[in-house]
Symmetry: C2
Subunit: 269 residues, 2 copies
Amino acid sequence: MTEEDFLKSYNPKKYDNFAISTDILILSISSTDQNNYRKLSNKSYSVLLIKRKNHPFKDKWCLPGGFVRVDEDLEDAPKRILENETNLKNIYLEQLYTYGDVNRDPRMRIISTSYMALIDKNRLNEKLPENASWFKIKKIEDKDTVTIILDNDKEMLSFDIKKTLKEKTTDRYKFSIVKNDSLAFDHPLVILAGLERLKGKVTYTDVVFNMMPEYFTLGELQQVYEVILDKELLDPAFRRIIADKVIATDKYKTGGGHRPSRLFKYNKK
Amino acid sequence: MTEEDFLKSYNPKKYDNFAISTDILILSISSTDQNNYRKLSNKSYSVLLIKRKNHPFKDKWCLPGGFVRVDEDLEDAPKRILENETNLKNIYLEQLYTYGDVNRDPRMRIISTSYMALIDKNRLNEKLPENASWFKIKKIEDKDTVTIILDNDKEMLSFDIKKTLKEKTTDRYKFSIVKNDSLAFDHPLVILAGLERLKGKVTYTDVVFNMMPEYFTLGELQQVYEVILDKELLDPAFRRIIADKVIATDKYKTGGGHRPSRLFKYNKK
DNA sequence: CTAATAGTGTCTATTAGACAGTATGTT
DNA sequence: AACATACTGTCTAATAGACACTATTAG
Protein backbone atom coordinates (compact mmCIF):
# COMPACT_ATOMS: atom_id res chain seq x y z
CA MET A 1 0.00 0.00 0.00
CA THR A 2 1.39 3.39 -0.90
CA GLU A 3 1.24 6.32 1.47
CA GLU A 4 -1.33 7.91 -0.79
CA ASP A 5 -3.62 4.89 -0.63
CA PHE A 6 -3.10 4.69 3.11
CA LEU A 7 -4.20 8.27 3.61
CA LYS A 8 -7.23 7.83 1.37
CA SER A 9 -8.47 4.95 3.44
CA TYR A 10 -7.62 6.57 6.78
CA ASN A 11 -10.64 7.11 8.97
CA PRO A 12 -10.05 9.80 11.63
CA LYS A 13 -13.40 9.04 13.26
CA LYS A 14 -12.21 5.71 14.56
CA TYR A 15 -10.08 7.47 17.17
CA ASP A 16 -11.14 8.94 20.47
CA ASN A 17 -12.75 12.30 20.58
CA PHE A 18 -10.69 15.09 22.06
CA ALA A 19 -11.15 18.82 22.04
CA ILE A 20 -8.30 21.31 22.17
CA SER A 21 -8.66 24.60 23.92
CA THR A 22 -6.27 27.39 24.70
CA ASP A 23 -6.11 29.68 27.72
CA ILE A 24 -4.29 32.98 27.67
CA LEU A 25 -2.62 34.55 30.63
CA ILE A 26 -2.67 38.22 29.69
CA LEU A 27 -0.25 40.00 31.99
CA SER A 28 0.41 43.67 32.39
CA ILE A 29 1.79 46.05 34.96
CA SER A 30 -0.55 48.50 36.65
CA SER A 31 0.16 51.49 38.86
CA THR A 32 -1.61 52.69 41.98
CA ASP A 33 -1.09 56.30 42.97
CA GLN A 34 0.02 56.95 46.52
CA ASN A 35 -1.68 59.47 48.79
CA ASN A 36 1.53 61.53 48.94
CA TYR A 37 1.99 63.64 45.78
CA ARG A 38 5.72 63.21 45.92
CA LYS A 39 5.80 59.42 46.08
CA LEU A 40 6.05 57.20 43.06
CA SER A 41 3.02 55.11 42.26
CA ASN A 42 3.08 51.48 43.31
CA LYS A 43 3.41 48.93 40.59
CA SER A 44 1.96 45.45 40.49
CA TYR A 45 1.05 42.68 38.10
CA SER A 46 -2.40 42.67 36.55
CA VAL A 47 -4.15 39.80 34.84
CA LEU A 48 -7.18 40.01 32.58
CA LEU A 49 -10.03 37.74 33.65
CA ILE A 50 -13.38 36.99 32.10
CA LYS A 51 -16.59 36.25 33.96
CA ARG A 52 -18.05 33.09 32.50
CA LYS A 53 -21.52 33.39 31.07
CA ASN A 54 -22.06 29.71 30.43
CA HIS A 55 -21.71 26.38 32.13
CA PRO A 56 -19.50 24.92 33.37
CA PHE A 57 -18.20 27.25 36.12
CA LYS A 58 -20.98 29.70 35.22
CA ASP A 59 -20.45 33.15 36.82
CA LYS A 60 -16.93 32.27 37.91
CA TRP A 61 -13.91 34.18 36.68
CA CYS A 62 -11.49 32.52 34.30
CA LEU A 63 -8.68 33.25 31.86
CA PRO A 64 -9.76 34.24 28.37
CA GLY A 65 -9.70 31.22 26.12
CA GLY A 66 -11.61 29.03 23.77
CA PHE A 67 -11.52 26.07 21.50
CA VAL A 68 -8.92 25.72 18.80
CA ARG A 69 -10.51 25.46 15.38
CA VAL A 70 -9.74 22.47 13.27
CA ASP A 71 -8.47 24.68 10.46
CA GLU A 72 -6.19 27.00 12.45
CA ASP A 73 -2.66 26.44 13.69
CA LEU A 74 -2.47 25.92 17.44
CA GLU A 75 -0.66 29.19 18.01
CA ASP A 76 -3.16 31.16 15.93
CA ALA A 77 -5.94 30.40 18.40
CA PRO A 78 -4.54 32.54 21.24
CA LYS A 79 -3.82 35.31 18.74
CA ARG A 80 -7.43 35.28 17.59
CA ILE A 81 -8.84 35.21 21.12
CA LEU A 82 -6.49 37.93 22.30
CA GLU A 83 -7.58 40.16 19.47
CA ASN A 84 -11.23 39.46 20.24
CA GLU A 85 -10.88 40.40 23.89
CA THR A 86 -8.54 43.35 23.68
CA ASN A 87 -8.45 44.46 20.05
CA LEU A 88 -4.66 44.20 20.23
CA LYS A 89 -2.59 42.72 17.44
CA ASN A 90 1.04 41.79 17.28
CA ILE A 91 1.41 41.02 20.95
CA TYR A 92 4.17 39.01 22.60
CA LEU A 93 2.81 35.52 23.05
CA GLU A 94 4.64 32.57 24.51
CA GLN A 95 3.48 29.02 24.99
CA LEU A 96 3.46 28.07 28.65
CA TYR A 97 2.28 24.56 29.28
CA THR A 98 -0.22 22.00 28.11
CA TYR A 99 -2.65 20.63 30.65
CA GLY A 100 -4.39 17.38 29.98
CA ASP A 101 -5.68 15.60 33.06
CA VAL A 102 -8.63 13.39 32.28
CA ASN A 103 -11.02 15.26 34.54
CA ARG A 104 -9.84 18.81 34.08
CA ASP A 105 -13.08 19.75 32.31
CA PRO A 106 -16.47 18.27 33.22
CA ARG A 107 -17.82 18.47 29.67
CA MET A 108 -15.49 16.13 27.85
CA ARG A 109 -11.85 15.32 27.38
CA ILE A 110 -10.20 18.66 26.75
CA ILE A 111 -6.50 19.29 26.35
CA SER A 112 -5.59 22.90 26.92
CA THR A 113 -2.44 24.64 25.83
CA SER A 114 -1.84 27.82 27.77
CA TYR A 115 -0.11 30.90 26.46
CA MET A 116 1.21 33.98 28.16
CA ALA A 117 0.68 37.40 26.59
CA LEU A 118 2.58 40.45 27.78
CA ILE A 119 1.10 43.83 27.09
CA ASP A 120 1.47 47.46 28.01
CA LYS A 121 -1.92 48.36 29.46
CA ASN A 122 -1.56 51.95 28.29
CA ARG A 123 -1.86 50.80 24.70
CA LEU A 124 -5.23 49.38 25.58
CA ASN A 125 -7.46 52.40 25.12
CA GLU A 126 -10.39 50.42 23.76
CA LYS A 127 -13.08 49.54 26.23
CA LEU A 128 -12.94 46.02 27.54
CA PRO A 129 -15.92 43.69 27.03
CA GLU A 130 -18.30 44.18 29.95
CA ASN A 131 -17.57 40.75 31.38
CA ALA A 132 -13.81 41.35 31.41
CA SER A 133 -11.80 42.94 34.20
CA TRP A 134 -8.20 43.51 35.25
CA PHE A 135 -7.22 41.96 38.57
CA LYS A 136 -4.13 42.99 40.48
CA ILE A 137 -2.02 40.06 41.57
CA LYS A 138 -0.56 39.66 45.01
CA LYS A 139 1.60 36.65 45.74
CA ILE A 140 2.44 35.36 49.20
CA GLU A 141 4.96 32.57 49.51
CA ASP A 142 5.15 30.42 52.58
CA LYS A 143 7.55 27.49 52.42
CA ASP A 144 5.95 25.11 49.94
CA THR A 145 2.61 26.90 49.57
CA VAL A 146 1.90 29.91 47.38
CA THR A 147 -1.18 32.03 48.01
CA ILE A 148 -2.31 34.28 45.21
CA ILE A 149 -4.83 37.04 45.74
CA LEU A 150 -6.54 38.69 42.79
CA ASP A 151 -8.24 42.02 43.33
CA ASN A 152 -10.19 44.25 40.95
CA ASP A 153 -11.36 46.74 43.64
CA LYS A 154 -14.78 45.11 43.72
CA GLU A 155 -14.01 41.46 44.20
CA MET A 156 -11.18 39.50 45.78
CA LEU A 157 -10.34 36.03 44.57
CA SER A 158 -7.73 33.85 46.15
CA PHE A 159 -6.25 30.40 45.87
CA ASP A 160 -3.46 28.32 47.34
CA ILE A 161 -1.06 26.17 45.39
CA LYS A 162 1.28 23.62 46.86
CA LYS A 163 4.74 23.18 45.43
CA THR A 164 5.96 19.61 45.76
CA LEU A 165 9.50 18.65 44.90
CA LYS A 166 9.49 15.52 42.76
CA GLU A 167 12.69 13.59 42.59
CA LYS A 168 11.98 12.10 39.18
CA THR A 169 9.31 12.17 36.47
CA THR A 170 7.57 15.18 35.03
CA ASP A 171 9.61 18.22 35.93
CA ARG A 172 11.20 19.22 39.13
CA TYR A 173 8.15 20.56 40.91
CA LYS A 174 4.57 19.54 40.85
CA PHE A 175 2.13 22.33 41.49
CA SER A 176 -1.22 21.28 42.85
CA ILE A 177 -4.21 23.41 43.74
CA VAL A 178 -4.92 23.13 47.44
CA LYS A 179 -7.68 25.69 47.83
CA ASN A 180 -9.57 27.49 45.09
CA ASP A 181 -13.09 28.74 45.45
CA SER A 182 -12.99 31.44 42.86
CA LEU A 183 -11.22 30.67 39.63
CA ALA A 184 -12.50 28.24 37.01
CA PHE A 185 -10.73 25.11 35.77
CA ASP A 186 -7.03 24.66 36.51
CA HIS A 187 -6.38 28.31 35.75
CA PRO A 188 -4.64 28.98 39.07
CA LEU A 189 -1.85 26.73 37.80
CA VAL A 190 -1.57 28.73 34.60
CA ILE A 191 -1.21 32.00 36.49
CA LEU A 192 1.52 30.64 38.71
CA ALA A 193 3.31 29.00 35.77
CA GLY A 194 3.35 32.34 33.96
CA LEU A 195 4.71 34.29 36.92
CA GLU A 196 7.46 31.71 37.40
CA ARG A 197 8.34 31.65 33.73
CA LEU A 198 8.64 35.40 33.56
CA LYS A 199 10.73 35.55 36.70
CA GLY A 200 13.05 32.97 35.23
CA LYS A 201 13.65 34.67 31.93
CA VAL A 202 13.46 38.38 32.72
CA THR A 203 17.18 38.66 33.40
CA TYR A 204 18.49 36.94 30.31
CA THR A 205 15.99 38.21 27.75
CA ASP A 206 14.37 41.53 26.83
CA VAL A 207 10.75 40.41 27.37
CA VAL A 208 10.05 43.18 29.91
CA PHE A 209 9.95 45.76 27.19
CA ASN A 210 6.77 44.19 25.87
CA MET A 211 5.14 45.51 29.03
CA MET A 212 6.68 48.98 28.83
CA PRO A 213 5.47 52.09 27.00
CA GLU A 214 7.73 53.55 24.35
CA TYR A 215 9.26 56.07 26.76
CA PHE A 216 9.90 55.21 30.37
CA THR A 217 12.15 56.26 33.23
CA LEU A 218 14.70 53.90 34.71
CA GLY A 219 12.84 54.13 37.99
CA GLU A 220 9.71 52.78 36.33
CA LEU A 221 11.65 50.04 34.58
CA GLN A 222 13.27 49.09 37.84
CA GLN A 223 9.88 48.86 39.53
CA VAL A 224 8.71 46.46 36.83
CA TYR A 225 11.78 44.30 37.33
CA GLU A 226 11.11 44.35 41.05
CA VAL A 227 7.52 43.19 40.54
CA ILE A 228 8.62 40.35 38.27
CA LEU A 229 11.57 39.25 40.39
CA ASP A 230 9.59 39.83 43.58
CA LYS A 231 12.47 41.54 45.35
CA GLU A 232 14.03 44.96 45.70
CA LEU A 233 17.01 45.92 43.58
CA LEU A 234 19.79 48.38 44.28
CA ASP A 235 19.86 51.35 41.94
CA PRO A 236 23.50 51.25 40.82
CA ALA A 237 23.47 47.53 40.18
CA PHE A 238 20.22 47.76 38.23
CA ARG A 239 21.52 50.58 36.07
CA ARG A 240 24.69 48.69 35.29
CA ILE A 241 22.71 45.65 34.18
CA ILE A 242 20.19 47.36 31.91
CA ALA A 243 22.62 49.99 30.60
CA ASP A 244 22.95 48.45 27.15
CA LYS A 245 19.30 47.48 26.85
CA VAL A 246 18.08 51.09 26.82
CA ILE A 247 18.83 54.30 24.97
CA ALA A 248 18.74 57.65 26.73
CA THR A 249 16.55 60.31 25.12
CA ASP A 250 16.63 64.05 25.79
CA LYS A 251 13.10 63.96 27.19
CA TYR A 252 12.37 64.20 30.89
CA LYS A 253 9.45 63.34 33.10
CA THR A 254 8.69 66.22 35.45
CA GLY A 255 6.04 67.12 37.96
CA GLY A 256 6.89 64.60 40.62
CA GLY A 257 7.98 66.98 43.35
CA HIS A 258 11.54 65.82 42.96
CA ARG A 259 14.36 65.77 40.44
CA PRO A 260 13.02 65.08 36.93
CA SER A 261 13.75 61.69 35.52
CA ARG A 262 15.25 61.07 32.12
CA LEU A 263 13.14 59.10 29.67
CA PHE A 264 14.63 56.07 27.94
CA LYS A 265 13.69 53.86 25.02
CA TYR A 266 14.24 50.17 24.47
CA ASN A 267 17.44 49.50 22.59
CA LYS A 268 16.58 46.84 20.00
CA LYS A 269 19.59 45.08 18.58
CA MET B 1 -30.48 25.34 33.55
CA THR B 2 -28.26 23.92 36.26
CA GLU B 3 -24.70 22.83 35.59
CA GLU B 4 -25.82 19.24 36.03
CA ASP B 5 -28.51 19.57 33.37
CA PHE B 6 -26.09 21.34 31.11
CA LEU B 7 -23.57 18.52 31.31
CA LYS B 8 -26.24 15.89 30.71
CA SER B 9 -27.30 17.55 27.48
CA TYR B 10 -23.74 18.28 26.35
CA ASN B 11 -22.82 16.60 23.10
CA PRO B 12 -19.04 16.27 22.62
CA LYS B 13 -19.53 14.96 19.10
CA LYS B 14 -20.65 18.31 17.81
CA TYR B 15 -17.12 19.65 18.03
CA ASP B 16 -14.23 19.14 15.63
CA ASN B 17 -12.30 15.96 15.69
CA PHE B 18 -8.75 16.22 16.99
CA ALA B 19 -6.31 13.56 17.98
CA ILE B 20 -3.61 14.06 20.62
CA SER B 21 -0.29 12.38 20.36
CA THR B 22 2.88 12.58 22.33
CA ASP B 23 6.49 12.33 21.22
CA ILE B 24 9.31 11.52 23.57
CA LEU B 25 12.83 12.74 23.21
CA ILE B 26 14.78 10.09 25.09
CA LEU B 27 18.24 11.46 25.74
CA SER B 28 21.25 9.78 27.19
CA ILE B 29 25.00 10.15 27.17
CA SER B 30 27.11 7.59 25.38
CA SER B 31 30.85 6.97 25.39
CA THR B 32 33.19 6.05 22.58
CA ASP B 33 36.51 4.49 23.50
CA GLN B 34 39.61 6.10 22.06
CA ASN B 35 42.35 4.12 20.33
CA ASN B 36 44.81 5.14 23.05
CA TYR B 37 44.34 3.03 26.20
CA ARG B 38 45.27 5.97 28.39
CA LYS B 39 42.78 8.44 26.99
CA LEU B 40 39.33 8.98 28.40
CA SER B 41 36.45 7.87 26.23
CA ASN B 42 34.63 10.55 24.29
CA LYS B 43 31.16 11.44 25.46
CA SER B 44 28.23 12.58 23.35
CA TYR B 45 24.47 12.83 23.41
CA SER B 46 22.42 9.91 22.20
CA VAL B 47 18.79 9.87 21.22
CA LEU B 48 16.56 6.84 20.85
CA LEU B 49 14.82 6.63 17.48
CA ILE B 50 12.28 4.21 16.08
CA LYS B 51 12.02 3.08 12.50
CA ARG B 52 8.41 3.51 11.44
CA LYS B 53 6.67 0.38 10.26
CA ASN B 54 3.52 2.08 9.04
CA HIS B 55 2.40 4.99 6.97
CA PRO B 56 2.83 7.89 7.05
CA PHE B 57 6.62 8.29 6.85
CA LYS B 58 6.92 4.51 6.51
CA ASP B 59 10.53 3.30 6.98
CA LYS B 60 11.69 6.70 8.22
CA TRP B 61 13.14 7.21 11.68
CA CYS B 62 11.13 9.09 14.27
CA LEU B 63 10.90 9.74 17.99
CA PRO B 64 9.01 7.16 20.00
CA GLY B 65 5.46 8.29 20.51
CA GLY B 66 1.84 7.50 20.12
CA PHE B 67 -1.71 8.60 20.66
CA VAL B 68 -2.91 9.70 24.04
CA ARG B 69 -5.77 7.55 25.25
CA VAL B 70 -9.02 9.20 26.13
CA ASP B 71 -8.91 7.74 29.64
CA GLU B 72 -5.32 8.59 30.55
CA ASP B 73 -3.84 11.86 31.80
CA LEU B 74 -1.71 13.62 29.21
CA GLU B 75 1.48 13.04 31.14
CA ASP B 76 0.75 9.35 31.62
CA ALA B 77 0.99 8.74 27.89
CA PRO B 78 4.75 9.38 27.63
CA LYS B 79 5.29 7.28 30.74
CA ARG B 80 3.44 4.37 29.16
CA ILE B 81 5.26 4.67 25.84
CA LEU B 82 8.63 5.01 27.52
CA GLU B 83 8.04 1.87 29.50
CA ASN B 84 6.96 0.03 26.35
CA GLU B 85 10.08 0.96 24.46
CA THR B 86 12.73 0.69 27.14
CA ASN B 87 11.17 -1.21 30.05
CA LEU B 88 12.23 1.66 32.30
CA LYS B 89 9.99 3.04 35.00
CA ASN B 90 10.32 6.11 37.15
CA ILE B 91 12.28 8.14 34.65
CA TYR B 92 12.77 11.90 34.61
CA LEU B 93 10.20 13.30 32.19
CA GLU B 94 9.64 16.91 31.38
CA GLN B 95 7.11 18.48 29.07
CA LEU B 96 8.83 20.34 26.25
CA TYR B 97 6.43 21.94 23.83
CA THR B 98 3.14 21.36 22.09
CA TYR B 99 3.10 21.40 18.32
CA GLY B 100 -0.13 21.98 16.49
CA ASP B 101 0.23 23.26 12.96
CA VAL B 102 -2.71 22.29 10.80
CA ASN B 103 -0.65 20.24 8.39
CA ARG B 104 1.90 18.69 10.67
CA ASP B 105 0.44 15.24 10.12
CA PRO B 106 -1.01 14.10 6.80
CA ARG B 107 -3.57 11.77 8.39
CA MET B 108 -5.70 14.21 10.31
CA ARG B 109 -5.48 17.12 12.70
CA ILE B 110 -3.07 15.98 15.37
CA ILE B 111 -1.77 18.03 18.26
CA SER B 112 1.39 16.64 19.72
CA THR B 113 2.85 17.36 23.12
CA SER B 114 6.49 16.49 23.30
CA TYR B 115 8.32 15.31 26.39
CA MET B 116 11.97 14.92 27.17
CA ALA B 117 13.19 11.87 29.08
CA LEU B 118 16.66 11.70 30.57
CA ILE B 119 18.14 8.31 31.27
CA ASP B 120 21.37 6.63 32.15
CA LYS B 121 21.95 4.20 29.31
CA ASN B 122 23.81 1.81 31.58
CA ARG B 123 20.59 1.07 33.40
CA LEU B 124 19.17 -0.12 30.11
CA ASN B 125 20.31 -3.70 30.05
CA GLU B 126 17.17 -5.01 28.39
CA LYS B 127 17.34 -5.43 24.66
CA LEU B 128 15.76 -2.69 22.64
CA PRO B 129 12.92 -3.51 20.23
CA GLU B 130 14.45 -4.47 16.87
CA ASN B 131 13.18 -1.31 15.19
CA ALA B 132 14.75 0.96 17.81
CA SER B 133 18.26 2.36 17.80
CA TRP B 134 20.44 4.87 19.62
CA PHE B 135 21.80 7.67 17.47
CA LYS B 136 24.69 9.85 18.53
CA ILE B 137 23.97 13.54 18.14
CA LYS B 138 26.36 16.03 16.62
CA LYS B 139 25.36 19.67 16.47
CA ILE B 140 26.97 22.27 14.24
CA GLU B 141 25.96 25.88 14.69
CA ASP B 142 26.50 28.43 12.00
CA LYS B 143 25.08 31.86 12.62
CA ASP B 144 21.31 31.35 12.43
CA THR B 145 21.33 27.79 11.15
CA VAL B 146 21.80 24.65 13.20
CA THR B 147 22.77 21.39 11.54
CA ILE B 148 22.20 18.22 13.47
CA ILE B 149 23.72 14.93 12.45
CA LEU B 150 22.46 11.66 13.90
CA ASP B 151 24.63 8.59 13.61
CA ASN B 152 24.06 5.00 14.72
CA ASP B 153 27.21 3.58 13.03
CA LYS B 154 25.08 2.20 10.19
CA GLU B 155 23.08 5.20 9.10
CA MET B 156 23.58 8.94 9.17
CA LEU B 157 20.61 11.28 9.31
CA SER B 158 20.89 15.02 9.18
CA PHE B 159 18.74 18.09 9.12
CA ASP B 160 19.07 21.88 9.20
CA ILE B 161 17.02 24.22 11.33
CA LYS B 162 16.88 27.96 10.95
CA LYS B 163 16.68 30.15 14.03
CA THR B 164 14.76 33.34 13.33
CA LEU B 165 14.56 36.12 15.87
CA LYS B 166 10.97 37.26 16.18
CA GLU B 167 10.44 40.66 17.69
CA LYS B 168 7.01 39.87 19.07
CA THR B 169 4.53 36.99 19.21
CA THR B 170 5.18 33.40 20.12
CA ASP B 171 8.51 33.28 21.88
CA ARG B 172 11.74 34.91 21.08
CA TYR B 173 12.93 32.56 18.38
CA LYS B 174 11.11 30.68 15.73
CA PHE B 175 12.76 27.45 14.69
CA SER B 176 11.90 26.24 11.24
CA ILE B 177 13.07 23.15 9.43
CA VAL B 178 15.07 24.11 6.37
CA LYS B 179 16.30 20.73 5.22
CA ASN B 180 15.21 17.33 6.45
CA ASP B 181 15.25 14.20 4.38
CA SER B 182 15.51 11.69 7.13
CA LEU B 183 13.39 12.28 10.22
CA ALA B 184 9.60 11.97 10.27
CA PHE B 185 7.15 14.74 11.19
CA ASP B 186 8.42 17.88 12.93
CA HIS B 187 10.67 15.79 15.14
CA PRO B 188 13.81 17.74 14.25
CA LEU B 189 12.25 20.65 16.14
CA VAL B 190 11.66 18.49 19.19
CA ILE B 191 15.27 17.36 19.28
CA LEU B 192 16.58 20.89 19.08
CA ALA B 193 14.07 22.14 21.66
CA GLY B 194 15.23 19.46 24.07
CA LEU B 195 18.93 20.23 23.65
CA GLU B 196 18.28 23.92 24.19
CA ARG B 197 16.10 23.29 27.22
CA LEU B 198 18.70 21.10 28.84
CA LYS B 199 21.48 23.57 28.13
CA GLY B 200 19.41 26.30 29.73
CA LYS B 201 18.63 24.49 32.95
CA VAL B 202 21.68 22.32 33.59
CA THR B 203 23.44 24.98 35.64
CA TYR B 204 20.61 25.90 37.98
CA THR B 205 19.10 22.45 38.53
CA ASP B 206 20.32 18.94 39.26
CA VAL B 207 18.83 17.29 36.15
CA VAL B 208 22.20 15.97 34.97
CA PHE B 209 22.19 13.34 37.64
CA ASN B 210 19.30 11.63 35.90
CA MET B 211 21.79 10.76 33.18
CA MET B 212 24.53 9.59 35.51
CA PRO B 213 25.14 6.20 37.07
CA GLU B 214 25.12 5.94 40.85
CA TYR B 215 28.89 6.26 41.09
CA PHE B 216 30.83 8.50 38.78
CA THR B 217 34.10 10.40 38.65
CA LEU B 218 34.19 14.18 38.48
CA GLY B 219 35.92 13.88 35.14
CA GLU B 220 32.97 11.95 33.76
CA LEU B 221 30.49 14.41 35.24
CA GLN B 222 32.44 17.28 33.75
CA GLN B 223 32.37 15.63 30.34
CA VAL B 224 28.58 15.37 30.56
CA TYR B 225 28.31 19.06 31.45
CA GLU B 226 30.56 19.83 28.52
CA VAL B 227 28.35 17.87 26.14
CA ILE B 228 25.22 19.62 27.39
CA LEU B 229 26.71 23.12 27.48
CA ASP B 230 28.59 22.47 24.26
CA LYS B 231 31.80 24.05 25.52
CA GLU B 232 34.88 23.13 27.49
CA LEU B 233 35.06 23.87 31.19
CA LEU B 234 38.07 24.52 33.36
CA ASP B 235 38.63 21.90 36.02
CA PRO B 236 38.97 24.10 39.12
CA ALA B 237 35.92 26.18 38.23
CA PHE B 238 33.85 23.10 37.54
CA ARG B 239 34.81 21.48 40.81
CA ARG B 240 33.93 24.62 42.74
CA ILE B 241 30.50 24.75 41.14
CA ILE B 242 29.43 21.15 41.64
CA ALA B 243 31.18 20.75 45.00
CA ASP B 244 27.96 20.75 47.01
CA LYS B 245 25.97 18.68 44.54
CA VAL B 246 28.10 15.59 45.02
CA ILE B 247 29.37 13.45 47.88
CA ALA B 248 32.83 11.89 47.82
CA THR B 249 32.99 8.16 48.43
CA ASP B 250 36.05 6.12 49.35
CA LYS B 251 35.85 4.19 46.08
CA TYR B 252 38.20 4.81 43.18
CA LYS B 253 38.16 4.06 39.50
CA THR B 254 41.46 2.53 38.44
CA GLY B 255 42.93 0.98 35.33
CA GLY B 256 43.18 4.08 33.18
CA GLY B 257 46.91 4.28 32.91
CA HIS B 258 46.94 7.37 35.08
CA ARG B 259 46.10 8.50 38.59
CA PRO B 260 42.91 6.80 39.84
CA SER B 261 39.85 8.95 40.04
CA ARG B 262 37.67 9.18 43.12
CA LEU B 263 34.06 8.10 42.70
CA PHE B 264 31.29 10.44 43.78
CA LYS B 265 27.56 10.13 44.36
CA TYR B 266 24.79 12.63 43.79
CA ASN B 267 24.06 14.65 46.91
CA LYS B 268 20.25 14.79 47.16
CA LYS B 269 18.99 17.52 49.43
C1' DC C 1 13.50 74.57 53.38
C1' DT C 2 11.87 69.74 52.92
C1' DA C 3 10.60 65.39 51.31
C1' DA C 4 11.16 62.47 47.83
C1' DT C 5 13.26 60.49 43.91
C1' DA C 6 17.29 60.71 40.26
C1' DG C 7 21.63 59.57 39.36
C1' DT C 8 26.73 58.48 40.22
C1' DG C 9 31.27 57.28 42.47
C1' DT C 10 33.57 54.03 44.86
C1' DC C 11 34.73 50.52 48.02
C1' DT C 12 34.19 45.65 49.14
C1' DA C 13 32.84 40.98 48.62
C1' DT C 14 31.97 37.30 45.81
C1' DT C 15 32.40 34.66 41.81
C1' DA C 16 34.49 33.29 37.46
C1' DG C 17 38.59 32.54 34.55
C1' DA C 18 43.26 31.17 33.98
C1' DC C 19 47.40 28.86 34.72
C1' DA C 20 50.72 26.26 36.84
C1' DG C 21 51.99 22.91 39.80
C1' DT C 22 51.86 18.30 42.26
C1' DA C 23 50.01 13.36 42.42
C1' DT C 24 49.71 8.78 40.68
C1' DG C 25 48.75 4.35 38.06
C1' DT C 26 49.74 1.68 33.60
C1' DT C 27 52.58 0.33 29.97
C1' DA D 1 60.45 6.88 32.33
C1' DA D 2 56.52 8.74 29.90
C1' DC D 3 51.93 9.74 29.29
C1' DA D 4 47.54 10.93 30.47
C1' DT D 5 44.49 12.26 33.70
C1' DA D 6 43.40 13.69 38.84
C1' DC D 7 43.37 17.20 41.80
C1' DT D 8 44.68 21.64 44.14
C1' DG D 9 46.69 26.38 45.07
C1' DT D 10 46.65 30.79 43.82
C1' DC D 11 46.58 34.88 41.16
C1' DT D 12 43.67 37.93 38.38
C1' DA D 13 39.56 39.65 36.19
C1' DA D 14 34.93 40.47 36.24
C1' DT D 15 30.71 40.98 38.44
C1' DA D 16 27.51 41.85 42.24
C1' DG D 17 26.33 44.14 46.58
C1' DA D 18 26.43 48.03 49.55
C1' DC D 19 26.59 52.62 50.89
C1' DA D 20 27.21 57.30 50.63
C1' DC D 21 27.05 61.29 48.24
C1' DT D 22 25.28 64.97 44.98
C1' DA D 23 21.33 66.77 42.00
C1' DT D 24 16.86 68.56 41.42
C1' DT D 25 12.09 69.93 41.86
C1' DA D 26 6.96 70.88 43.73
C1' DG D 27 5.00 72.54 47.42
